[in-house]
């Protein structure tokens, strides 16, 4: 069963991977850059591995510089998340996703948030403005 949801393109591209949800805004700087395990104390993602995931989170936070540097280091080590699904936009995260070519969308059909669980296989077609939950 495949569930299809509409969304708004931020950074074009396609990606597929397991869903990982965060209640908290994300700054990629406090991550173990060799494993992709998130390290920020008290954060919803603390101790979770973001490598290869489609991250579903409210938006970015933190300094204008270290967000991009964190994403770059994750990418260089091959442990970057594959795509971003956010609910609010900030220029730092948006421009970092665009230059690092990470597919990113916002404004997803609210039904998506009711359905999606951690570990669901997600296909993100940011260019076409579609998110799919792929279930057996």
């Amino acid at each position: 069963m495949t569930l299809e949801f509409s969304c708004h393109t931020i950074s074009p591209g396609q990606a597929e991977g397991p869903a990982l949800r965060s209640k908290d805004p994300v700054l990629f700087y406090r991550t173990d850059f060799t494993t992709g395990v998130f390290q920020e104390e008290g954060h919803d993602l603390e101790g979770k591995c973001i490598a290869g995931k489609i991250l579903i989170f409210p938006g970015g936070k933190g300094s204008s510089v270290v967000q991009a540097d964190g994403m770059y280091k994750l990418d260089m080590a091959g442990v970057a998340p594959k795509g971003f699904i956010v609910s609010s936009l900030d220029t730092v995260l948006v421009s970092s996703a665009i230059i690092m070519e990470v597919p990113m969308v916002d404004d997803v059909d609210p039904q998506f948030y009711k359905e999606v669980q951690d570990g669901d296989l997600i296909r993100l077609d940011a260019s076409a403005g579609k998110v799919y939950i792929l279930r057996e």
Binding site: R30, S64, Q67, S95
Partner: protein
């Protein structure tokens, strides 16, 4: 988003691959934010960092032949001359700093290496549309000067400098610049440290455009406004604030809120400030092995205050004061730099606290700073600081620490 003919030609590569890449990034950002058009800028400030990602992207633009249409000022990396002389930076990181310098010079940037461009070298007038990145620069330009900029990243500000345009959204539009949250400050504020503590309450204040009321304008210095803006953006994300009787769009409450009612009211008491102060001393060091000041870069007045305090009680442990090259030059010509040197403090130009190659060796030592932002950044590479007022920091530096 509709582009003008000139903007479209840039995107199509008529002015080279570099401009086309910058325009493509900006067009994508603009469409993400549902901007209708792109508007010209007159100034830019790029948060250069001498970190890999930043230099990688700048190099990509340079190699594609990009030149800045609006030469931007830049953030600090670090002063190679000083840190090489100290034997602190290895060949790999100094090569990156040298390359960063070269790449930005090739792009046509003005290499000011300062995080306070609004004090020297890049000062917008009221209402001017600019593209400023850097945690504390954006909020100062919007709030204190009344210029208009979004909270740009280093990359988006560099693209704007190259094309000379920004997509029109967010802080560029009147409707988003009205105050939305009334922050009633119920305690007198003394010195910039109290303003930093106020900024640390950003989470309580929440999202929106805060309007600070109840602050006595005569208590508000330039340094206080810098500290407030910086800490609001460490604890939260604030593009713009108003302060009644102080900032240009807030002669009174009604104007600050654009004639509307606040969406909510938050009251900040002395207890709220003291609660933040308690959180700033996680290590509870009783002695100092070093002190680091100047995040954001110290102003000339702050340097004079440090010199005055150290004259009474000279430092016996290292004291680094980070500032712009412009302020170092001024301090040299007025004799203030010499006086600081005699009291055991060093003025370091062009340098950010967030440079692991320069400061990483301090991990494990007992350090103090007067900036919560500084402590937040240096923790990323293992340097744990306690945060207290400049007066306390320098008193501890005079008392010494090595046991």
């Amino acid at each position: 988003m509709t582009l003008t003919q000139y903007q479209q030609e840039m995107l199509d590569g008529r002015y080279g691959k570099g401009k086309a890449l910058a325009m493509r990034v900006q067009k994508t950002i603009g469409e993400g934010f549902r901007a209708q058009r792109m508007v010209p800028i007159t100034r830019a400030h790029v948060a250069l960092s001498a970190q890999e990602a930043d230099t990688w992207f700048a190099r990509k633009l340079r190699d594609a032949g990009a030149q800045c249409a609006v030469p931007p000022t830049v953030n600090p990396g670090y002063c190679l001359k000083y840190f090489q002389q100290m034997g602190r930076v290895d060949e790999k990181s100094s090569a990156l700093m040298r390359e960063t310098h070269q790449v930005y010079q090739d792009l046509g940037a003005i290499l000011t290496y300062s995080c306070t461009p609004y004090l020297f070298g890049n000062i917008p007038r009221y209402g001017e549309t600019v593209s400023f990145s850097e945690t504390s620069v954006t909020v100062y330009a919007n709030s204190v000067l009344g210029a208009r900029t979004n909270r740009e990243s280093s990359a988006s500000a560099l693209c704007a400098a190259i094309t000379g345009f920004v997509p029109e959204y967010g802080m560029l539009l009147d409707e988003n610049r009205r105050g939305t949250v009334l922050v009633q400050v119920d305690t007198p504020l003394q010195g910039e440290f109290d303003f930093a503590l106020l900024g640390m309450n950003a989470k309580r204040i929440g999202p929106g455009v805060p309007v600070f009321a109840g602050i006595k304008p005569s208590d508000v210095t330039t340094e206080a406004l810098i500290a407030l803006g910086a800490q609001l953006n460490v604890a939260g994300m604030v593009d713009l604030f108003h302060m009644v009787g102080v900032t240009p769009d807030a002669p009174n409450l009604e104007r600050a809120f654009g004639g509307r009612q606040p969406e909510r009211t938050v009251t900040i008491t002395r207890e709220d400030l003291e609660a933040q102060r308690a959180l700033l001393m996680p290590q509870k060091y009783e002695q100092a092995d070093f002190v680091i000041l100047g995040c954001p870069h110290y102003t000339y007045d702050q340097i004079c205050r440090a010199a005055r305090l150290l004259k009474q009680a000279p430092a016996v442990v290292p004291v680094w004061i980070l500032t712009s090259a412009a302020v170092v030059d001024l301090a040299r010509s007025t004799g203030m730099a010499g006086q600081l040197g005699e009291s055991g403090a060093t003025l370091v130009p062009d340098t950010c606290v967030d440079e692991a190659p320069c400061w990483g060796h301090l991990a494990g030592q007992r350090g103090f700073t007067d900036s919560p932002k500084c402590a937040y950044y240096m923790r990323a590479f293992g340097v744990e600081l306690d945060v207290t007022t400049c007066e306390n920091c320098l008193a501890l530096a005079a008392k010494g620490g090595k046991s």
